[in-house]
């Protein structure tokens, strides 16, 4: 799993550059700060943002331009036959680009040694975290993204020839614009998409009470004064859909697994807020993974999959209670949950009757325990315990919950400010606190100041965060990506989520190393090989004794 965050961006006093140019400067500044002037390009090979999980594919000509995030010049992926050993498939040959200048995209783009991607998306700098295998690692590498952004801000501020730029980890400008924080989860392909939609919807709609970041203003442009739990709720306008930039859905159907599509899908969750709270990030990833884990277990429980039986008695199934949680109007419920500060409003259920967001979250937690209790690892058990504890505190002790529930922490500050200075919800100072809550500069960011004062809970140490800025997680394919870039910076010609392209002098062409399984490419699998390879040529030689396959016709470069 992982989180990608588009940061809000603002030029300092007198800065006139447009946000796209400023965002590109952020990426360039980080490249300078990290001492990496690598020529590695992003590889779009294998990306397909218009493929829909419901089984069809949007025609590129019919798509809104903002949906076209891949490179149309690139060929479709070749069908790799996975072979055992270190590789996810055969090495593939690719022509060396004839004209590097022409091929070099203006869009700033950086592959980080921690396995993340830093680039410009829709006029915002975006940090896409490396793939992580646990919610706790999700927190570490998400926080690392904040440090990356801070480093860029400091670098620009220190240089008299570059404009000052401020960055915010939020999702709204209060004028009607929203930008996203997307979670991605690897899900077994054999979980029917209908089931995902059915069981995820009530969960995603109601998890806001635990993981909302809080927002001043009601309505997309903050037309009405007030406070709500979620940054993102007012921009959710559909139940299920492919779009991410307009008519945003509760369940996004983009079917672009960045992995072997026969085995995996990547669930792209766009309803979530950008969180400064580490507990919120932890729960957002952890709870959602566990709900998906139940749906996966239910698929396995009904089949003869040899990996599934083991010692677990009985057949695993989706908890009966979850079937009754379907909401009568999910989109309306998103808005209601976000605006109900009491957490006591009943939401209409499809089968009649009502349930509060709190009750629905409780039912999901109970279901996770019921199905997965014997199978939880340490990190997952801690997620369950945190989920349980915070649901309890939301009912019994809100001031205590504010240490870990971000919207409550923000509300606490805002209510105190309002009381002290007798301010209405539409006062500029109140809105300024909301915006500056997430400023990445620790002396300016209000959440960062609460953290420094020990007023909010943390899950990652400063050392863990600074390590995560430089190093990849060791237990996903991000390890291989990050380490290859760190060890052989000049040899990695391009890299994407599901493959690396190496340029080695001893080879007549570029060589593409596929990484179609996100759970491989780990330190356990490839660490010794990397350690034994002083350069990328040696790595290639060790990866396979065989010569890479000949260039397939489809991999020829687009005609100039």
């Amino acid at each position: 799993m992982g989180i990608e965050t588009e940061y809000g961006i603002l030029g300092g006093d007198g800065v006139r550059q447009n946000p796209m140019a400023l965002s590109a400067l952020v990426v360039a500044a980080y490249a300078q700060a990290s001492g990496r002037r690598s020529r590695t390009r992003w590889s779009y090979e294998g990306e397909d943002p218009l493929s829909d999980a419901r089984g069809w594919r949007l025609d590129g000509a019919a798509a809104h331009p903002s949906q076209l995030t891949d490179d149309p010049d690139r060929p479709a992926p070749s069908g790799d036959d996975a072979d055992p050993g270190h590789l996810d498939g055969p090495l593939l040959r690719r022509h060396r680009p004839q004209d590097l200048e022409r091929d070099d995209p203006a869009a700033a783009n950086m592959l980080l040694t921690n396995g993340a991607r830093l680039y410009v998306d829709h006029a915002h700098p975006e940090y896409s975290s490396p793939e992580v295998a646990s919610a706790l690692d999700g927190v570490r590498w998400d926080r690392a993204g904040e440090e990356v952004m801070l480093s860029a801000v400091r670098t620009l501020a220190a240089n008299p020839h570059t404009p000052e730029v401020h960055l915010y980890k939020n999702n709204v400008d209060g004028k009607g614009a929203s930008y996203g924080t997307h979670e991605n989860f690897l899900v077994r392909r054999d979980v029917p998409f209908d089931e995902l939609v059915r069981y995820l919807t009530p969960f995603l709609v109601t998890r806001t009470i635990l993981v909302g970041a809080g927002r001043v203003g009601l309505g997309q442009a903050g037309e009405e004064p007030g406070f709500q739990l979620s940054q993102r709720a007012d921009y959710i306008e559909a139940h299920v859909g492919l779009e991410t930039t307009l008519r945003r859905p509760i369940v996004n159907t983009r079917d672009e697994p960045h992995a072997d599509p026969q085995r995996f899908r990547r669930l792209h969750v766009i309803i979530g807020d950008a969180n400064c709270s580490e507990t919120a990030t932890y729960l957002k990833l952890g709870m959602t993974s566990l709900v998906l884990g139940v749906l996966e277990a239910a698929v396995l429980g009904g089949s003869a999959d040899p990996a599934a039986d083991g010692d677990t008695p009985g057949v695993l199934a989706v908890p009966d209670a979850w079937a009754g949680l379907a909401l009568a109007d999910p989109v309306d419920a998103v808005h209601r949950v976000s605006r109900d500060l009491t957490l006591e409003e009943g939401l209409e259920l499809a089968d009649g009757g009502t349930a509060t967001a709190w009750e629905i979250q409780r039912a999901y937690l109970d279901g996770v325990r019921q199905v997965l209790t014997d199978r939880l690892d340490e990190d997952e058990a801690r997620v369950v315990a945190t989920w349980d504890r915070l649901l309890g505190l939301l009912r019994s002790d809100r001031p205590a919950a504010a240490r870990e529930v971000e919207w409550l922490a923000k509300l606490q500050v805002l209510e105190a400010l309002r009381a002290r200075h007798h301010l209405a919800w539409d006062h500029a100072k109140v809105a300024a606190v909301d915006l500056q809550w997430s400023d990445v500069r620790p002396e300016r960011g209000l959440y960062a100041r609460l953290r420094a004062a020990g007023a909010v809970a943390t899950l990652a140490t400063e050392q863990e965060v600074s390590d995560a800025v430089v190093h990849p997680p060791v237990d996903t394919r991000a390890y291989f990506r990050g380490e290859a870039v760190r060890r052989y910076p000049d040899a990695v010609a391009a890299a994407g989520w599901n493959g690396l392209v190496l340029d080695v002098p001893s080879e007549p062409t570029l060589v593409r190393v596929p990484m179609t399984d996100p759970t491989r490419g780990t330190r356990a699998l490839l660490g010794p090989l990397l350690d034994a390879s002083p350069d990328a040529g040696a790595l290639l030689a060790r990866l396979t004794g065989a010569t890479p396959e000949a260039i397939p016709p489809s991999a020829a470069p687009a005609s100039a």
Partner: protein
């Protein structure tokens, strides 16, 4: 910078005798401290800062 210390205004319906855990006390103190220095931390002109915070839509 003002030195008055109001308690956050969420007292309605709270049990006055309920013991306040240490973590929560620290929390309240931190919020008060933050408000004491808020004018130094917030951008100088809150109104123009909020008005100027205009973003392009994203994903």
């Amino acid at each position: 910078m003002t030195q008055q210390h109001h308690t956050p205004a969420r007292g309605d319906g709270e049990e006055p005798d309920a013991p306040v855990p240490a973590a929560v006390q620290a929390n309240t103190q931190a919020v008060d401290d933050l408000l004491d220095e808020i004018d130094d931390v917030l951008e100088q002109n809150a109104e123009s800062f909020v008005r100027g915070f205009v973003q392009k839509g994203g994903q």
